[in-house]
Symmetry: C2
Subunit: 294 residues, 2 copies
């Protein structure tokens, strides 16, 4: 039984879709109210939202590692904020959490369309994703592992995921992606309402998931400076196949760099602005079939 759901926006202050959806719902809470559970709507990083920046001191969505939450020496803006949020919406790992399900709203400059980033194995998480996939055929699912693991906002509740939509620049509100994200959240709330009531839902037996494989960085010089761009034929090709010999990067000097991997992969988060500093130009994934628990 889900008793409390948190819809969180503005975890990254320059991802406006979630910021403005939460503002909308805080004005019109009836839109996200359902009878069998309580819905919280939260703007996460108010200072970063104010400054239209991803973060002030460190990435809030990499700040929920359990050891970091318990480390009193970490006292910068986001480290402190993570502790406050964990107290309110966690606590992470608790057997009596304050919130049962977190959906964290993100956007990306990559052409990810409508996607879910999941790093949680709770049956409710996967049943919810299966329901959304049924309602929104464009939805794609990425099982994340990457630069910092198990440190996302949604990791502090037993179940949940991030919704990731794009392409949209940082600091821009795009109506089409706003409406699509809004629709996904309403489907999610309807799903939880039906689960709580014990409705028999005919969910798919399995869904297709893009499973994380590797991070690929931009070619850089000895000072860490980027010396190549995502190749024009790879730009915007998220959830698209890449095979040995496909152009991957184009050097600033014009040299083409080809993909050398033996295996067929799918590229995600291609040329995302926020990942230049993290050191990756895209992620490589393979497709797996994920069974949906019944």
């Amino acid at each position: 039984m889900i008793k409390k759901v948190a819809i969180t926006g503005g975890t990254h202050g320059n991802e406006l879709t979630g910021v403005y959806l939460v503002k909308k719902w805080q004005k019109e809470p009836d839109l996200v109210r359902r009878s069998s559970f309580e819905t919280l709507t939260e703007l996460m990083n108010l200072q970063a939202i104010q400054e239209v920046r991803r973060y002030i001191d460190q990435d809030l969505n990499r700040s929920f590692d359990l050891r970091d939450l318990e480390n009193e020496n970490l006292q910068n803006h986001e480290a402190k904020l993570a502790k406050v949020i964990n107290h309110r919406l966690g606590k992470k790992g608790s057997s009596r959490p304050n919130v049962d399900f977190i959906v964290d709203l993100h956007s990306t400059t990559a052409n990810m369309g409508l996607s879910i980033v999941v790093s949680n194995e709770h049956p409710m998480t996967w049943r919810a994703i299966a329901y959304l996939s049924m309602k929104e055929p464009r939805l794609k699912v990425y099982r994340w592992a990457g630069d910092v693991e198990n440190a996302f906002v949604d990791s502090i509740a037993p179940s949940g995921f991030a919704i990731e939509v794009g392409a949209v620049p940082q600091g821009v509100l795009r109506a089409d992606l706003f409406l699509a994200t809004e629709g996904l959240v309403y489907h999610l709330l309807d799903f939880i309402e039906q689960e709580n009531r014990g409705s028999v839902l005919s969910l798919p037996e399995s869904i297709e998931v893009y499973e994380h494989e590797a991070l690929v960085d931009y070619p850089r010089d000895e000072n860490g400076e980027i010396i190549a761009m995502v190749h024009p034929t790879r730009q915007d090709r998220d959830f698209a196949v890449i095979e040995q010999g496909d152009p991957l990067f184009l050097g600033l000097d014009g040299e083409v760099i080809y993909y050398q991997g033996d295996e067929v992969r799918y590229t995600l988060f291609v040329n995302e602005a926020a990942y230049y500093e993290k050191g990756f130009a895209m992620t490589l994934t393979h497709k797996v079939t994920q069974k949906i628990p019944h």
Copy 2:
């Protein structure tokens, strides 16, 4: 006779096309060297480039008003930087300027394609634009007047303009727009070389120009908060016609706001990230025919 040309990038630190083109040319100066004039390549706002931000204290590309350049009380980062740049690449209004022509490289989150933003009436400016229009049929020309006038980087030299390409998110380098901008700059240098040598160029007699008419802000509440988004049917429609009754904005609450103007206009800079804080969602223009001086 043009003796010195400056190619400037990184006037806005999060517009990477110009930043990486200038870095390329500083490594390979032969690419922009021509026999009849000297070419300077300049990274403008190093601290903003380092921080991948548009600016530190104020917009550098609004900091070249003559009165501001002469006002010793203005001492924030960009106000001081503008004075230094004006000393090196100006001086603005001087009869013996250090640089004859400035091309300032920009990018935009709006779908502006390949465009020129001009606010200069020098014959050389317009002949250069005519030449580029001939070489690059996709090129569009916008005669700017807007929030702050005659304060652009290129205003400190007798002739020049900004190249503005999009759509590309802030903090992202897109290969296609990098290559297109690079091509435009080579055409410009070739043009100046031919002019200097007295070659007879068969330029068009006139070109089409989008002339600035008005700024349109997002609908806002009493606190200045945005309460509507660019309507999905207007998003990405730069250099596109707008007529009375066309959907203009979509309220966060779902209400459609229609364009009320009597005259047919063309929308530019639709939903540019950097203009949220400046208070405009797009600019309205009308088309004029610009004669090219011979």
